[in-house]
Symmetry: C2
Subunit: 789 residues, 2 copies
């Protein structure tokens, strides 16, 4: 592998000196900016070269037909895909009428830095045009965390070696050509030029484009205005034109050596499902006015302030490996960006950093991203859950279609409608519903937010509980079974009694019963009777949890441990990921695990297993788990740490940390793996911190791997932030504010007082069993190797 | 239901007086003619109105893309669909320039008869044109059983009431517009106007069109010539023109009342995978010359002779219900037509009667059609099996793709390449391979054809045996399991140890071992070692056949009887077929059976079950079997008869007999259900005749249902035909020729001498258990009701 230019190593930013055109696509994802509402990929200002121009609004999509060679009942006939809104990032530059292009002329300097505290992407360029004129250009870009509809670019050009005419074309471009390949012509047709013009407007120097998607009928307005300042002796000329799919402000300036021109571009964005051109336009333009009034300095200051606030509570400090420190902050920054201002929208699998998975949201939003958000930015977790709640009507409709009661949430979606085309891995992955319920319960446990509970939480719990009761069946012995489902592991499908699913369904039923009892009036409005509550309790108590007595382990699902073992020895490295080289049926019938499933249950349903069961199960599943999913390493790190395999945990931590930065799966170009990034935090807090939310409160069992000398992180608790500072021999707990708060440190209870640090020693480790092995060739890179130059 | 005009009741034909335009599509299938190589749907001579114009050559297809919302490894990226060849059926008529159309003018007579002994479709029309001229038209059409490339039409018009000018346009029409709906635009594009012209030729009065398919690159030539005779005083004028997609011979004649013109149209057909225009043209024209030399009388005589020969051996006589008699001969006639001259081609699910299932061939060819052919027209069975043998390279390639050894035959195909788009019901329906092996062994048992065995049989058995060994797995107890397959029942999928599959795989392995031992040299050429033969024997002996001790029945597959039972009580009549109203996952996880599966095993692997096991299994599966497939009733009839439920057997027989004639599934318009028609014969011979080919030879246990007074049928045995004449109290056996032949009559052995009838009494019946019940609403119509007017 010829490695592209490496990122620099810095604690609070990630950047590059130089430019690898071959790695452009990857860098566009890494350097993406967003606020959960609006996302801008890290494209070059001048638009080209690019891999995939990306400007997205959360929830904005186009609908397209779903083709099937042989259809079936319940298959969705249309799907949803994220599409670009008009691109406001673009500022093209001409130097004496020579277009600036990194592939032409001579590029003597090219630096890009994504700053985690400033919340900006900064770029510095020195370029000599083919005709020999040299300029310096710097641009700084932000997607505002304080004004959610706003993005801005500060763009500066300086003449170096002689008088030049500098022309900057600042644009809004609709329907940029796509680079994605759509094999089906109907899908291609729907997603090519999806925007129809509803109008283009010019008001002074400000320009606005209003569009509507042809299929989904969503309206979008993007507006821009500019603040222009030149140190040149001649005033620059500024003209603005608009047309249906293009708005352009052209700035021309004569610059002598050392003179510069600065353009600040303010871009406002709005979308709506019931588009009125006038309203959309007004709102987008209002955002621009707001941004112009704040000015670049105001926006940048707001950005930094919001991030300072975030990092003050939520920074994770890592000592012992600077690259890991950088990777952790990179991960936290991007997860924060993906959710910060989503506000009643979801957190898609790729955030707003690319079109991978068509911009869909999956179960990992609730099971991987929301745990982090709940503990660090609970207001974002609440918004994501309120989005799920807002889609309940679709979910109820889907349940009815499938012959079930209550609600069945979609496996992949943007709007809340099912958008999956392969039912064995989607329609029956019912665990998603329990995952959502678990996220609701986690949020309530951490925040005690009764308003949310009454407005949304109870209803989600009730409707999902109803689904479970209608999905399962009672056997003659009085056990409740859930047959014909697919659990988290996508290399199994249509199984009975998946342990993960059943444990989470049990919690879902218990949670629904408790919530309905707590809020009788809310439950009654949902037609919940005492009898129904009773049925949830009875069902929960009866749910079958298969156990293989002979092997002393929980089978991933009924009969799993009886299956033939995958022939790992005969599988070559090129045959991974397995799903691309073997038919599903062969994977499905054998013992081979794509991603943590029973091992995920060991963590999220940790109270259902004894320590011995966990150790045995981890040792059993490790040699079967191939990690063909980015959702695995972080969880394996957690369970490795719990079972005492700290070095293995560190290796998995390193894998989760480098998955996107090193493009381990080769698909980061399509967008960052937000859930995997979030799992890095989980690997640290739940893995090395040993953090568990349990029935008896919050527990920690901090223990560092040999490579690290310190780990520190904070989580929100009632009234303040709890900071942990973990050293090899002890951990310091510090509560920022609020009432006294009790935590378990290993088996000891600590009652923490605000402002009073408490230090507790790390008890001696119990020797774990032998290090579990992975399938041949699937052992994770060693921690040190992963972070080597 | 407003019933269309009923068919007349006649022993040797099926016909209609009058015309129901609403039932046109159905009649086109019922009145189809074919010889296994060439098929002409029963369209009206004048081309319109039509439902679906159909002219097909066996093996001639177009390739089209297969679309998937989410693709997967091993999914075929292109599929095959039967397409029309240029249509030679068409003879348009103008009476004083008024086009004859049954929807215009006054139709005072319209009769159509398909004659099972003449092998012709005969039509008589009296029509008065809108301007008041009356003519009589008769046409007789045949697809020759003696000249496989030839079809012919004898077309006669008689003037009734005054001098008229009669114009007949006899045509070859390429790329007739399709009526099928293709939702996918790529499929539609591929299948619309699939024929590209390679040339059009005129030679005297003869015309030829040569085409090639755009995607599959198959060449086809259709040629025609005419013999014209008029009793009119003026000689008719005849002109012929050709163009790329149309050839037309126009005949104009002046007729006085009573005068008539007769046109005999000879049509020749050829196709080839390596098209040379000249060769194709020559061969098609040679067929026309051959047909012209035979003349209509010669063709018609040859046709009758061939059918006399067929019926002499294979007629099934039914006394007690004339409609059943008619239905049985209708079925035999169509199955014979579907296979008679297929010659190295397959017998598609719809024969050559329509485009249903895209013209594909399935497992039912070997398991439903070939048993009939083997016993009645073994040369046709041989050809179908040689076709499978010819596709072995595709099957070996598919096995390699799926990670298996040996051969995996395609679930649905025309050329031998897999054309299925839903893997749980196709890729893993591995039983197809054992079905093919079973057909090979059945053919060898009946014919002892050693040439076939050495040239094709051994290789099929060896390659399928290899597949089974590589597909299954050994457990610690030394049992061999076949996991992750789909059996015949399409309401289950991805099961372990499907009893039907395992029993047939066992027979496959045993058969391969025996054949390899019989033909060591052939086996060696296939690299079969003694060790490999030994492995087949060992594997066969170890194959797991699950049995539910508690319920005393064989589960359809491992664990089947533990599943939740389908809620038949809550299922409404409109919700059948279930697959159109419920998601697969819900069907797959419950006890609900689409079609005979374990019950099919009771019949085809009859020696693996005791009588008691059969009775109990039939009683167990009947209440679970919904018969949403046409492949079920005939088999249920067989097992109902064996287990003593003769009235139920008669009801199922009636359902199989009326499925196409009464259009019970509403889809006969797309073509006849050839396998279901064949199963009618199976219901009679194996059901009421009790016929079984077993390890100890041929056994009968004839017993009539109360509605029938007599059943007689013949089957081929070594050197002659064995005729059975079954009466309520006794059965007469008669061997036409050949050496003495032993059969079992119930538990008695009869040694039959040629020409010497032997009569044996029917032993008293043992009282069966209570009549098994079906799911609510799924009880078959009673025999008497099915045949009521």
């Amino acid at each position: 592998m010829t490695r592209p230019l490496p990122f620099d190593v810095a604690p609070w930013s990630i950047g590059l000196s130089g430019l690898s055109l071959s790695a452009l696509a990857h860098r566009e994802s890494v350097f993406a900016l967003g606020n959960g509402h609006l996302g801008w990929r890290g494209n070059l200002d001048e638009g080209e070269p690019h891999s995939s121009p990306g400007s997205y609004l959360n929830g904005f999509f186009e609908r397209h037909p779903m083709p099937y060679a042989e259809g079936g009942y319940g298959y969705p006939d249309s799907g949803e895909s994220v599409v670009n809104i008009p691109d406001g990032k673009i500022l093209r530059l001409l130097v004496d009428d020579e277009p600036f292009d990194v592939r032409r002329g001579r590029l003597t300097r090219h630096e890009q830095h994504l700053d985690f505290r400033a919340g900006t992407l900064h770029r510095e360029v020195t370029w000599t045009s083919p005709t020999g004129r040299t300029i310096e250009m710097t641009s700084t870009r932000l997607v505002s965390l304080t004004h959610r509809a706003v993005a801005a670019v500060r763009y500066e050009v300086r003449a170096v070696d002689g008088p030049v005419t500098v022309t900057v074309q600042s644009e809004l471009v609709a329907n940029e050509p796509l680079t994605e390949v759509h094999h089906d012509p109907r899908v291609k047709e729907a997603l090519t030029d999806p925007l129809e013009s509803l109008g283009h407007f010019l008001l002074g120097t400000a320009a606005t484009l209003v569009h509507v998607t042809r299929g989904s009928g969503l309206g979008v307005a993007v507006a821009m205005d500019h603040a222009i300042h030149s140190t040149g002796s001649h005033a620059p000329t500024v003209t603005t034109e608009t047309s249906p799919h293009l708005a352009r402000t052209t700035v021309r300036a004569q610059l002598d050596p050392g003179e510069r021109i600065e353009i600040v571009k303010f871009v406002g964005h709005e979308w709506s499902a019931s588009p009125s051109t006038a309203a959309l336009r007004d709102r987008a333009e209002a955002a621009v006015v707001e941004a112009s009034e704040a000015g670049w300095e105001g926006l940048a200051a707001g950005q930094r302030e919001r991030l300072d606030e975030y990092w003050a509570c939520n920074d994770v400090v890592v000592e012992g490996e600077p690259r890991l420190q950088q990777a952790v902050r990179f991960a936290l920054f991007h997860v924060f960006q993906a959710a910060a201002r989503a506000e009643l929208r979801s957190v898609p699998g790729k955030g707003l950093t690319g079109t991978g998975y068509q911009g869909h949201t999956f179960w990992d939003s609730e099971m991987f991203v929301l745990p982090l958000l709940t503990d660090t930015a609970p207001e974002s977790a609440e918004q994501a859950l309120r989005w799920r709640h807002a889609t309940l009507d679709h979910a109820r409709e889907r349940a009815t279609q499938l012959g079930l009661r209550g609600a069945v949430f979609p496996w992949r979606t943007i709007s809340g409608r099912e958008s999956s085309g392969y039912w064995p891995a989607s329609m029956i992955a019912f665990h998603l519903n329990a995952d959502i319920a678990a996220a609701v319960m986690r949020y309530l446990r951490v925040t005690g937010d009764e308003v949310f509970e009454r407005e949304a939480g109870v209803e989600i719990l009730v409707e999902t509980a109803r689904m479970w009761v209608s999905l399962g069946r009672w056997d003659d012995a009085g056990r409740f079974h859930i047959d014909g489902v697919t659990g988290p592991d996508e290399y199994s499908a249509m199984v009975n009694d998946n342990v993960y699913t059943n444990l989470l369904a049990r919690a879902n039923l218990e949670g629904a019963a408790a919530a309905a009892r707590r809020h009788r009036d809310v439950a009654e409005a949902l037609n919940v009777t005492d009898e129904e509550i009773g049925s949830w309790t009875v069902t929960a108590a009866a749910i079958a949890i298969p156990f293989d007595e002979e092997r002393g382990v929980h089978p991933q699902s009924a009969g799993f441990t009886e299956r033939e073992r995958w022939s790992f020895e005969a599988t070559t490295p090129e045959q991974y990921p397995l799903q691309e080289h073997f038919p599903y049926f062969d994977l499905y019938r054998k013992q081979v695990v794509k991603q943590a499933d029973l091992v995920l249950a060991l963590y999220v349903a940790h109270e259902a297993f004894t320590a011995e069961e966990k150790a045995r199960a981890f040792a059993y599943y490790e040699p079967l788990t191939v990690r063909d999913s980015s959702l695995s390493a972080g969880i394996q790190a957690v369970v490795a740490a719990e079972t005492g395999h700290l070095e293995l945990a560190a290796d998995y931590l390193a894998e989760a940390a480098t998955l996107d930065l090193d493009d381990l799966q080769g698909d980061t170009a399509d967008g960052l793996h937000i859930a995997s990034l979030a799992s890095l935090w989980t690997a640290i807090t739940a893995g090395f911190g040993g953090m568990r939310h349990g029935s008896e409160g919050l527990r920690f069992a901090p223990r560092l791997p040999p490579q690290l000398t310190r780990l520190a992180f904070g989580i929100r608790v009632a009234g303040g932030t709890l900071h942990l500072d973990i050293r090899p021999d002890s951990t310091q707990y510090r509560l920022s504010a609020g009432p006294a708060f009790a935590v378990q440190h290993f088996d000891e209870q600590l009652v923490l007082q605000p402002g009073v640090p408490t230090t507790a020693p790390t008890p001696p480790a119990i020797a774990p069993g032998p290090r579990p092995t992975q399938p041949p060739g699937r052992r994770p890179r060693a921690f040190d190797a992963a972070f080597a130059d």
